[in-house]
Amino acid sequence: MKVLIPGALRSYTREGHVEAAGATLDEMFTDLDRRYPGLRFRVVDEQGQLRPNMRLFVNGAGVRDLRHPLRPDDFVAVVLALSGG
């Protein structure tokens, strides 16, 4: 699938759009970490939970459960939550 990488994580990927594989969001982040070491831990904590203030969208729909299934033609956006002042 195609993955949109937020600016804060482009020190790992060096580009805004990358390809990844995996049957779930969790597997997708494992695959991304294989290609870009260290990336997963910045987004997913050691207990397998999406970190607070991070948001994931699969084909435009917000998802928090990392067990969410993915298809090869899905588009996943990794986004930093916007708020504050």
Binding site: P37, G38, F41, R42, V44, E46, R51, M54, A81
Partner: protein, 413 residues
């Protein structure tokens, strides 16, 4: 307005006194010749390195490093004089450790940053590291060993120079410690911290640390087992000092030339402990009772002299009502004792006289080891100060930085 003019005479006297004390100490423990120093400044929005000349008069600024990252601590490895570790996170991204072996020219992320173990089935609740708060190089004989303290409270060790970190289950997964730590809900708004990790210079297996909250603890076997060190420490009125979780040490320091002496700045006062050889008899003495009453003895940093175990410094803050955590009356000052806490003197020459509402966090004040040491402090308003002649004369090194979380000074190889 600063006090530079108004108190120049008393400042000169203090400076002369500092030099006289340095001369008096010289026969006992000769200080090294002036070295090249670097001041390591960790802030809410990045890190800076300030390289000083041998007179500590001019400073070359190197930074920002990691602009936008919250850097809780930046430490140089004294065993090689060139390896830096930085504890980092951003508002959104998880925590990590960056490492440089060339004084910050190039940084590489840790392969395995501090992270709690998965919980045992049916065991204690799972925890996740929010940020690494404290970094301590290991013993001089154990090259490559480092310790890290995290929020929520956790203790971690690296044996490969900070690349990979392992949790110490004797602390992180021990039911007693977990009770003393409480939950994140029980902590302060910035999160509960494990801090003040101390390695006895005489024995790499003798470790100590503090928890805000959760007391002071020590191990004599390299972290396999632990004992509490809270006897004599006070707690907030109405609570039982025998309950470890109520104890809130803010900063604990060991005197490098007299390792059986500890000083502590606590939520409830300033303390000294002289070890007796019998752990059951070791008791903290509240030496802050000799501080001026209108200033009080609450603060965060504790700084010990590199050679004189009778000298230490604190930086009091306003702990009245809702705990403003500002300088008392808007008049910042360090306080020093030269007799192990029997008397204290105010050190404010050069610091603002009024309407200065900043304060100094627990890692943001330190001292160098030059023949006449200078103090360094970073403020919550982003100013970096040097206190020449052991704090007798303060002047600005830098301002307009982000909120300063930690200041360390190191000698370059």
């Amino acid at each position: 307005m600063s006090r530079t003019t108004a108190r120049s005479k008393s400042g000169a006297q203090s400076a002369d006194a500092a030099k006289a004390r340095a001369a008096a100490r010289a026969p006992r423990r000769a200080a090294t010749a002036p070295a090249r120093l670097v001041v390591l400044v960790a802030t809410r929005k990045g890190a800076w390195l300030l390289h000083g000349d041998r007179t500590r008069r001019t400073w070359k600024v190197d930074g920002p490093h990691f602009l936008g990252h919250t850097i809780s601590h930046l430490q140089l490895d004294p065993r090689d004089g060139r390896t830096l570790l930085a504890a980092a996170k951003t508002g959104h991204l998880g925590p990590t450790i960056f490492r440089s072996t060339d004084l910050g020219r190039r940084w590489k992320e840790a392969g395995k940053p501090p992270a709690f173990a998965a919980p045992a089935p049916g065991g204690l609740p799972a925890r996740s590291v929010d940020h690494t708060f404290w970094l301590t190089p290991g013993h001089g004989s154990e090259r490559g060993t480092w310790y890290a303290g995290t929020s929520p409270q956790g203790l971690f060790r690296s044996e490969d120079g900070g690349d990979t970190w392992v949790p110490l289950p004797s602390v992180n997964d021990d039911p007693r410690f977990r009770e003393w730590m409480g939950t994140v809900q029980d902590g302060t708004p910035d999160g509960p911290k494990l801090h003040s990790i101390i390695v006895d210079p005489r024995d790499p297996a003798h470790l100590m640390f503090g928890m805000s909250g959760g007391g002071v603890h020590e191990s004599r076997d390299g972290g396999a087992t632990w004992q509490t060190l809270i006897r004599g420490m006070e707690v907030v009125e109405g609570f039982d000092p025998g309950t470890v979780t109520f104890h809130d040490p803010h900063c604990v320091r060991l005197c490098p030339t007299q390792p059986d002496r500890l000083y502590q700045q606590n939520h409830c006062g300033i303390y000294r402990m002289d070890r007796t050889g019998d752990p059951a008899a070791d008791t903290w003495q509240r030496i802050g009772r000799k501080m001026p009453r209108r200033v009080g003895d609450v603060g965060f940093p504790m700084v010990v002299h590199p050679r004189d175990p009778d000298t230490c410094w604190v930086f009091p803050m306003d702990a009245a009502t809702v705990w403003p955590r500002t300088s008392p009356e808007g008049r910042p000052a360090a306080y020093v004792t030269h007799n192990a806490g029997r008397t204290w003197q105010r050190l404010d020459q050069g610091l603002p006289e009024s309407q200065a509402w900043w304060t100094v966090k627990r890692q943001a004040m330190t001292v160098d080891a030059q023949p006449v040491p200078a103090l360094y402090l970073g403020t919550s308003s982003g100013e970096l100060w040097i206190g020449r002649d052991e704090g007798a004369r303060w002047s600005l090194i830098a301002r307009h930085l982000p909120e300063i979380y930690a200041v360390e000074v190191a000698e370059l190889a």
